[in-house]
């Protein structure tokens, strides 16, 4: 089968669900962040795939670029938050943080 | 600039309770013998008194006087400002050697005293960190510079004598 749009979409879907899986099941906040990165990546694949196979010119690329930029900003901020949490609560496990909150 | 007699005088004035003894018939230098347990107080005085101002301890050496069954410690003091020197000696029992530490007054005494402990087993009271220094920490065969020291046959599985 000729590789086409659908193939890319399948990859992106798989990546997306794995990202969700990480977010749902992992306790470590940094792993959750990794899951988010996976989701963003899968979204980017979609953007670019559609931009390639759809008739959108380069806007898909541009949006992917923006997403990457935002992902960087998000990673920086989120990690800083995680570190701050770690500094005060001395753990990065989400459920423990939940318990410690109250 | 003061010589040993003057210093002895000053000491006697200041510490009437303590006994001091001057020995100066030796070929080279005279020295003052004092009590091992109050050497820290004497040292404080020597260090702080502006007339004496012994700001530096240049040497501290333990000696095993086995014939008299005693261990002694020699202190060589010097004032870099007034440029005079002094030798003090304390004598302690060989079986339970205890000397007050002067580490508080001259920081440099720290390792010297550790070395004396390591080599002779002289205990320096109030020393912050009295451990072996040159020999391995797990050396069990005693204090090597004592005259009756016997070297062990093995250390950690290594043969020691030739």
């Amino acid at each position: 089968m000729e590789v086409g749009l659908n193939h890319f979409l399948v990859v992106s879907t798989l990546l997306f669900s794995m990202g969700i899986y990480a977010i749902v099941t992992r306790k470590n906040a940094i792993l959750v962040l990794m899951g988010i990165e996976l989701i963003l990546n899968s979204a980017n694949i979609n953007f670019i795939a559609f931009s390639r196979y759809g008739n959108f010119g380069l806007q898909g690329h541009l949006i992917a670029l923006f997403v990457i930029v935002l992902a960087a900003a998000e990673a920086a901020i989120a990690l800083a938050i995680v570190l701050n949490i770690y500094k005060t609560l001395s753990t990065v496990n989400i459920d423990e943080i939940d318990n410690l909150k109250d | 600039m003061k010589n040993t007699e003057e210093i002895l005088q000053a000491l006697k004035e200041n510490f009437p309770d303590f006994s001091f003894e001057l020995k100066s018939d030796l070929p080279v230098e005279g020295f003052i013998i004092c009590n091992p347990l109050v050497i820290d107080k004497i040292s404080h005085f020597l260090h702080d008194n502006p007339e004496l101002n012994f700001d530096s301890l240049i040497n501290l050496s333990g000696v095993d006087e086995i014939k008299a069954n005693q261990l002694s410690v020699y202190y060589h003091l010097e004032s870099t400002e007034l440029k005079h020197k002094l030798v003090l000696k304390v004598v302690t029992d060989r079986n339970s050697p205890e000397v007050a530490s002067v580490t508080d007054i001259w920081k440099g005494a720290n390792w010297h005293e550790r070395e004396a402990y390591d080599m002779f087993g002289i205990k320096f009271l109030n020393h912050p960190d009295l451990r072996r220094i040159l020999m391995p920490y797990d050396w069990e065969a005693g204090h090597p510079l004592r005259k009756d020291y016997e070297n062990p046959e093995f250390y950690q599985g290594m043969k020691v004598p030739f």
């Binding site: 500094k87 005060t88 609560l89 001395s90 410690l100 109250d102 | 030796l26 070929p27 080279v28 230098e29 700001d55 530096s56 301890l57 240049i58 040497n59 050496s61 333990g62 000696v63 095993d64 020699y74 060589h76 870099t80 440029k83 030798v87 001259w106 920081k107 440099g108 720290n110 390792w111 010297h112 080599m119 072996r132 220094i133 040159l134 020999m135 391995p136 090597p144 510079l145 005259k147």
Partner: protein
């Protein structure tokens, strides 16, 4: 509820070992560094890895036989060690030695000082990362070793200065060769300055690092160039002259804080360079005044001092080297204790390093210029 017990953990403390095998601990020193991040919170030196039982040997040797062992303490400055022993013993025996002997001793001691400082400076450069000056220094040192070699046949451990005299007279070529050396050596000091001393990176690494205030130094008993770098003119060659040092005109360089604070590592480094220049001056004067005579006439046939004790000291390249010798009237000493300058100096390492970074430990350690041979003896 906030868990307070483990809050505020920023970085965990980490214990890092440096040595005994480490490229830059100048031998077999072991440093235990407690780190917080890269900041030193505590330095614990562990010594004794080269404890060669010098003092025990002294008690088993006759007086002349001790000389080769003194060589092996501060092996970078053997001549100085021998001189110290000779000075102490001559004080104990109460003998006078001929003038020629004294002059030759001074020449040798000063040449040795230059050689020793060259090693100190070279390895210091290598510690900071500049390897080339190290080899330049060793190249020049080799010339001094050659001078020693033609005189007494050995390159490093000489057994040259004996109680009451010298083992050999000077080699006939010695004076000429020494003058040649002085001529050649002066430009290389400048070269060393160009490539290392005034290098911006070098200054940044060393200035304001490891500041040693003079009060602390004296209290710890620090001596030699390290003390002088803290800004005090204290030199046994001037303050308690031995041999014939009182006959020479020389300066005592002190640290001035040119690039930082008085008593920082750069000062300690630079004082040594200045001292080499002063030593050259002394050697030149001594060569000019060198009297004739026999160098072995005063050597006692059998050394048997009266019972008593003596503390003799000289200014070694690393500071005040003292011999405390107790004699019981026999041909072997009853007890010899050596006041080794590096032994005393190394104690301040912990104080100096606190709060600095790992790299600075190397800088500071290099700048106080220790030799493990005399620390552990």
């Amino acid at each position: 509820m906030i868990n307070t017990k483990s809050s505020a953990i920023r970085t965990e403390e980490m214990v890092l070992n440096m040595g005994p095998q480490h490229p830059s601990t100048h031998g077999v020193l072991r440093l235990e560094l407690a780190l917080e991040g890269e900041i030193i919170t505590k330095v614990t030196p562990h010594i004794g890895y080269l404890h060669r039982c010098f003092e025990k040997h002294c008690e088993a040797m006759t007086y002349p036989q001790i000389v080769p062992y003194t060589d092996r303490m501060d092996y970078l400055a053997s001549m100085g060690n021998e001189l110290g022993y000779a000075v102490a013993m001559e004080k104990l025996l109460g003998i006078e030695v001929p003038q020629r002997v004294e002059y030759i001793r001074v020449i040798m001691a000063e040449l040795q000082r230059i050689a020793s400082h060259l090693v100190a400076l070279g390895t210091y450069g290598a510690d900071i990362g500049a390897f080339t000056p190290f080899l330049y220094c060793f190249r020049d040192r080799e010339k001094i070793l050659h001078l020693f070699e033609i005189t007494c046949g050995a390159r490093l451990l000489y057994n040259y200065i004996w109680v009451g005299g010298l083992s050999h007279d000077l080699h006939p070529d010695f004076v000429r060769k020494t003058r040649d050396f002085i001529k050649e050596f002066k430009p290389t000091i400048k070269e060393l300055n160009d490539i290392l001393s005034y290098n911006k990176i070098f200054i940044d690494r060393t200035a304001n690092v490891g500041i040693l205030p003079v009060k602390t130094a004296i209290n710890f008993g620090v001596s030699g160039p390290n003390l002088r770098a803290s800004g005090i003119k204290w030199d046994i060659r001037k303050d308690d002259p031995y041999s014939v040092y009182s006959k020479f005109d020389f300066d005592i360089p002190v640290g001035k804080g040119t690039h930082g604070t008085v008593g920082d590592s750069w000062d300690r480094y630079f004082v040594r360079i200045l001292e080499m220049e002063e030593s050259l001056k002394i050697i030149e004067q001594a060569l000019d005044q060198l009297p004739d005579g026999d160098v072995q006439s005063a050597i006692p046939k059998r050394i048997k001092p009266n019972a008593g004790h003596v503390y003799g000291r000289v200014e070694n390249p690393r500071g005040e080297l003292g011999y405390f010798i107790i004699s019981d009237g026999s041909t072997t000493p009853y007890r010899v204790k050596v006041r080794a300058p590096s032994f005393v100096t190394l104690q301040i390492l912990g104080e100096l390093c606190k709060g600095y970074m790992i790299a600075d430990v190397i800088t500071i350690l290099g700048s106080i210029d220790i030799v493990l041979g005399e620390i552990d003896r």
